[in-house]
């Protein structure tokens, strides 16, 4: 690539900078969201609640944020801060080692308790949510920790797994999980495959982002098109290239 201007480090930058030269083709989503939390809230609005009859809390992926903010490390740091404050919960969703789901803690608690109404595991789940979630921000729990720190018995742990709040990671350790999220994972993977297929089948394996959003989706794609686009751009499954006609998405062969 031939660059007319060479890369310059910060110390050598010209003092006079032209103000507000926008990079052509790169349209920032959501009217220039600079805050990570507001970006998460914006992405949450893209989540289809009706599809799951409101039983699932709104889930957003961590890598979807990378498609909006350019500095990944900053996004990670902000998310960690939110998790430590107890506002956001992060989950390992199992189908991809790098895909972390984000849910607002209040949302999660409300939906889980609503789902547990009238079931025999309700008491244990309530205890778990109050004790563990408020103090610990880990993604996974080991047996020792559960027994000693939080004083859960073996049978209580079995009840938690049964209710879906914990899933098995290894002999003696569990991931924190979302009950009834199987359907979500299934639809998500189907939709992602369908959208990627759409990009791949296009001429030269590239599509303008605006055009992709306009396209009619098959029955496989159950989520909002924008939700999937943020996902594939953030996971670097497609390359996002700024052009004079808008952002171009090109399939990445790996």
């Amino acid at each position: 690539m031939n660059r007319k201007r060479a890369l310059i480090s910060d110390t050598f930058k010209v003092k006079k900078t032209r103000n507000g030269t926008e990079k052509f083709g790169a349209v920032s989503n959501g009217d220039g969201l600079t805050d990570v939390k507001s970006t998460v809230e914006y992405l949450m609005t893209l989540f289809p609640r009706k599809l799951f009859n409101d039983t699932l809390p709104q889930i957003v992926f961590k890598h979807q944020l990378y498609s909006i903010h350019s500095d990944k490390t900053l996004v990670d740091k902000e998310l960690n801060k939110l998790c430590e404050r107890g506002e956001l919960l992060m989950f390992q969703l199992g189908f991809d080692a790098e895909a972390f789901g984000l849910i607002f803690a209040s949302d999660y608690k409300a939906k889980v308790l609503a789902g547990e109404e009238g079931r025999e595991t309700q008491a244990t789940v309530k205890k778990f949510l109050e004790k563990v979630l408020s103090s610990c921000t880990d993604l996974s729990f080991s047996k020792d920790k559960m027994l000693r720190e939080f004083l859960f018995t073996d049978s209580e742990i079995t009840q938690l797994v049964k209710s879906g709040v914990l899933t098995v990671r290894d002999a003696g350790s569990w991931w924190l999980s979302i009950p009834n999220s199987g359907k979500f994972t299934k639809y998500f993977i189907q939709g992602r495959k369908a959208v990627l297929g759409m990009v791949k089948k296009s001429k030269y394996s590239e599509v303008l982002k605006a055009e992709l959003e306009e396209r009619r989706t098959t029955s496989h794609v159950k989520f909002h098109m924008k939700y999937h686009i943020h996902d594939i751009v953030g996971a670097e499954l497609v390359e996002s290239i700024p052009t004079t006609s808008g952002t171009l998405l090109r399939f990445v062969d790996s």
Binding site: S70, K72, T73, L139, R169, G172
Partner: protein
């Protein structure tokens, strides 16, 4: 630039500041230079490169055909057009040459009289540079993936060797013994690296997704196993699932000051760790394509203000800023996969070798010569300058001071 020089002269700035700023500027302008070439001797891919630490003049390269070549990097010819000549080689005709591919080569850290090479023929040879004959040969049971000599060791002269066997062997150069073994990994050890800060600290990376940090003086196991999730490390049950990557870990590199450790793995990720606590600093570099089944040699710049990491990524070399994780640029030039790269700290040059049998030199591009210096064209060598009528030439220069 002039501002920096004046400030240094007047004592307003620390002398180091000018050096750092200029080194950073040079690293950012790395480009393939048509004037600089490296002699092409290898008939097969190049697996490993090493530049000696004393003068920075000689470079060793080990190839997939078992050949080891030494190049002289200094340019004494006076012309900008320069090919790094071969000083000597251990070719296929030599009696002592390795039978299979040479995986790692390293100069003895204190002088160029000796170098060590290890290969897939299950041996590691310590060579005398003068006679090009092995002074000592260590034999192993499995393919040797990687070895490393500590660059700062004064109290010991151990070579850490990573082989197909999960046990890491420490060979002593002085006595020739190899009884010291480090146990802990469960699969082949792909890369080993001594810390440039403490002479007894060793980091090892293995195909079982784990990276372990050892103190070789300690009788019991490793000091730390790096955990990418920064979960609890104290309980024994959680030690078993501590993984540094979600795939094989095939590259290790300490930063110049030894405070941070970089690891790359086949899960296409690169992670930066605090080498004292083993904490994942969670710097996100994005997708760093990595399909290598053997060790990947990558390097960190030295002496720049934001340090840079040079990682071979497919057939190009990716340059990332160390602490922010942003991709600065991709250096494209190789025709096939790049396997190794080495940074020359004094001249801020990068040498990379790959499967296309070429070693490419990436040299910082100096400022383009001005109109007045057209007469010196013959001496400067043609760097793409054609004789243009001065009236049409662009007299505006992008220099800020």
């Amino acid at each position: 630039m002039l501002g920096f020089l004046t400030a240094r002269q007047a004592g307003l700035d620390d002398p180091l500041r000018l050096r750092r700023a200029e080194s950073t500027r040079r690293v950012l302008s790395l480009k393939l230079n048509p004037d600089r070439d490296v002699d092409r001797i290898h008939g097969n891919g190049i697996n490993s490169l090493d530049i000696e630490a004393v003068e920075g003049r000689y470079m060793l390269s080990g190839g997939a055909d078992g050949v080891i070549v030494i190049y002289d990097l200094e340019n004494f010819s006076g012309k900008p057009q320069y090919t790094c000549k071969t000083v000597c080689t251990v070719g296929r005709s030599s009696r002592h040459v390795h039978k299979f591919s040479v995986e790692t080569v390293q100069w003895y850290p204190y002088d160029t009289g000796m170098f060590v090479s290890s290969s897939f023929d299950k041996t590691m040879k310590v060579w005398d540079t003068e006679t090009l004959k092995p002074a000592d040969v260590f034999e192993f049971e499995g393919n040797v993936y990687s070895h490393h000599l500590s660059p700062i060791a004064r109290k010991h002269s151990l070579i850490a060797v990573g082989t197909k066997n999960p046990k890491i062997q420490l060979c002593d150069l002085k006595s020739g013994s190899r009884i010291h073994v480090l146990q802990g990994h469960r699969a082949e050890v792909l890369s080993v690296r001594w810390s440039p800060r403490y002479e007894h600290i060793l980091a090892t990376a293995s195909a079982d997704s784990k990276v372990k940090v050892w103190d070789v003086r300690r009788a019991s196991g490793s000091l730390l196993t790096l955990d990418q999730h920064n979960g609890e490390k104290s309980k024994a049950s959680s030690e078993a699932v501590n993984t540094a990557h979600n795939g094989r870990v095939n590259g290790l590199c300490f930063t110049g000051d030894g405070l941070y450790l970089l690891t790359t793995g086949t899960d296409d990720r690169m992670r930066l760790w605090n080498s004292a606590t083993g904490e994942n600093t969670l710097v996100n570099y994005g997708k760093v394509c990595n399909e290598s089944r053997k060790r990947l040699q990558f390097t960190v710049s030295h002496g720049c203000s934001p340090e840079f990491v040079f990682v071979p990524c497919g057939s190009s070399v990716a340059v990332y800023a160390l602490h922010t994780g942003e991709l600065v640029t991709m250096l494209r030039g190789h025709y096939n996969n790049v396997d190794c790269c080495e940074f020359h700290p004094d001249y801020q040059e990068l040498y990379s070798g790959g499967k296309d049998c070429n070693i490419l030199a990436w040299v910082p591009v100096l400022r383009a010569s001005d109109v007045e210096e057209e007469s010196n064209n013959a001496i400067k060598g043609a760097v793409g300058q054609t004789s243009v009528n001065p009236a049409f030439q662009d007299a505006w220069s992008s220099e800020e001071d």
